[in-house]
């Protein structure tokens, strides 16, 4: 594993995008970033601008308005940028499968690198998803 990928696994800056979510997943993401779980010891920081992001966390089944913005955000993120779908709605639209105003689960719009199911996933589950992503990155 080359040095660039190693640095990427050791310093992950996370951008959070919530589109048409009920915000429970967003609250759980916020919980994962509080001092109780202390993700900064793994180099994970929450940042505000998409241009600084390494991982984009997407929650919620994406609405039509949100889909436009999600596509734009993914193009604005400097590559390599990984996308993580957090929560059932982002993974597969869950109970909103046949809804008229949703533009589909996240992987219909942008490539997704990790799925974290749950409604909402506990912070421990979110951390486990991130760890699995890092391990997959390290393997190549």
């Amino acid at each position: 594993m080359n040095f660039k990928t190693k640095a990427l696994t050791k310093s992950i800056w996370v951008f959070h995008f919530a589109s048409a979510s009920c915000n429970n997943c967003d609250i759980e993401i916020l919980d994962a970033l509080t001092p109780k779980f202390d993700l900064e010891r793994f180099g994970i920081l929450l940042i505000g601008s998409i241009r600084h992001a390494d991982v984009m966390l997407v929650t919620g089944a994406v609405s039509h308005k949100g889909a436009v913005r999600l596509n734009r955000l993914y193009e604005q993120a400097p590559k390599p940028c990984l996308v993580v779908a957090v929560g059932c709605c982002a993974c597969s639209m869950c109970i909103f499968r046949d809804s008229y105003n949703m533009a589909g689960p996240v992987d219909r719009l942008i490539p997704v690198h990790a799925y974290i199911p749950g409604c909402p996933p506990k912070p421990e589950a979110i951390i486990m998803g991130v760890v699995k992503l890092i391990k997959a990155l390290r393997k190549g």
Partner: protein, 309 residues
């Protein structure tokens, strides 16, 4: 020629300042974590951040001006490297300093903020422009009491403006901090330093919850890495400047080296603790604070130093 290049690039110039800057930013994050009852990042975390940023794609916004956008981070880096070289050469061998280098240092210390303003305005993003304009207002605010506070040691040392002579005066007559006027000027200088380093309560330009990342918002990849490195180097260089001006610098013989490093670390921990215990000010509150109480205190310090206290 080779010696000058060595001074500027290796020690005490770029490499030395960059490495110590990485260490100092780690100390900052670790102390912050400890104060918040957390564990905090490992020692090499700033290095990982820097290397990762170098490996990311650099995107130049279409509405921005390309050359200015890409070149402005380098201005700040160059300025802080030169300041660090001047300060450390003044401490290790005071006779190589030149007349007026104090003025050069004060002037060069504003350049990183100016390079941030230029970069913010070259981004073509309204939030970046807002952050850059806030940075401009901040400079107008804190530069006045900062320079007035710097007058106090100059007056006490009978009007010398050579860093080497200021250091030698302190080694002969006691550090400026031990006098009443020096103490007042030191307090003003610490608070102005907090604003110069853009730390809470004065991190108004990069107010994360208000204007996302302020002037840094469109930066990604290598230019962002250079900005971050400049910021970490400033966290190292500006307290060293204050140690030189008010606490007699670091004397390089025997136990005094340890005592000098301790002086710097105490100042650093003071900044970190102020940073962790205060909310952020609004820009108008900050300007009123700097042009009001701080300027009055700095003028009081000057008056006391004229009276000889």
């Amino acid at each position: 020629m080779a010696k000058t290049l060595f001074y500027f690039v290796v020690f005490p110039g770029f490499l030395f300042t960059a490495l110590v800057g990485l260490l100092v930013s780690w100390i900052d994050r670790k102390v912050t974590a400890r104060v918040q009852w957390r564990v905090g990042p490992p020692l090499l975390q700033p290095l990982y951040d820097f290397v990762k940023l170098l490996g990311k794609e650099t995107i130049v916004p279409q509405a921005g001006s390309r050359l200015t956008f890409l070149l402005s981070p380098l201005l700040g880096l160059a300025a802080v490297t030169i300041v660090s070289t001047i300060l450390w050469l003044a401490m290790t061998s005071p006779e190589v300093t030149f007349l007026g280098d104090l003025i050069v240092v004060i002037y060069l210390l504003t350049i990183p903020s100016i390079s941030l303003i230029i970069g913010g305005f070259a981004s073509g993003n309204p939030l970046a422009s807002l952050g850059a304009s806030r940075e401009m207002k901040m400079i107008l605010g804190y530069e006045l009491p900062f320079i007035l506070a710097i007058f106090t040691p100059v007056i006490k040392a009978h009007g010398v403006i050579r860093l080497g002579e200021l250091l030698q005066y302190q080694w002969g007559n006691g550090i400026f901090l031990s006098s009443c006027s020096g103490f007042i000027a030191f307090v003003v200088a610490i608070i102005c330093m907090q604003a110069k380093l853009a730390l809470v309560p004065f991190d108004i330009p990069e107010a994360e919850t208000e204007i996302i990342a302020g002037p840094y918002i469109e930066y990604s990849g290598a230019p962002l890495a250079v900005y971050k490195l400049t910021r970490w180097m400033m966290l190292f260089v500006v307290p060293i400047f204050l140690v030189v001006m008010f606490m007699g610098g670091i004397i390089f013989e025997g136990w005094h080296i340890l005592w000098g490093i301790l002086k710097y670390v105490l100042l650093l921990v003071l900044i970190i603790l102020i940073r962790n215990t205060n909310p952020r000010l609004r820009i108008d509150q900050a300007i009123k604070f700097f042009w009001g109480p701080m300027t009055i205190l700095a003028v009081l310090g000057i008056v006391l130093s004229f009276l000889g206290k």
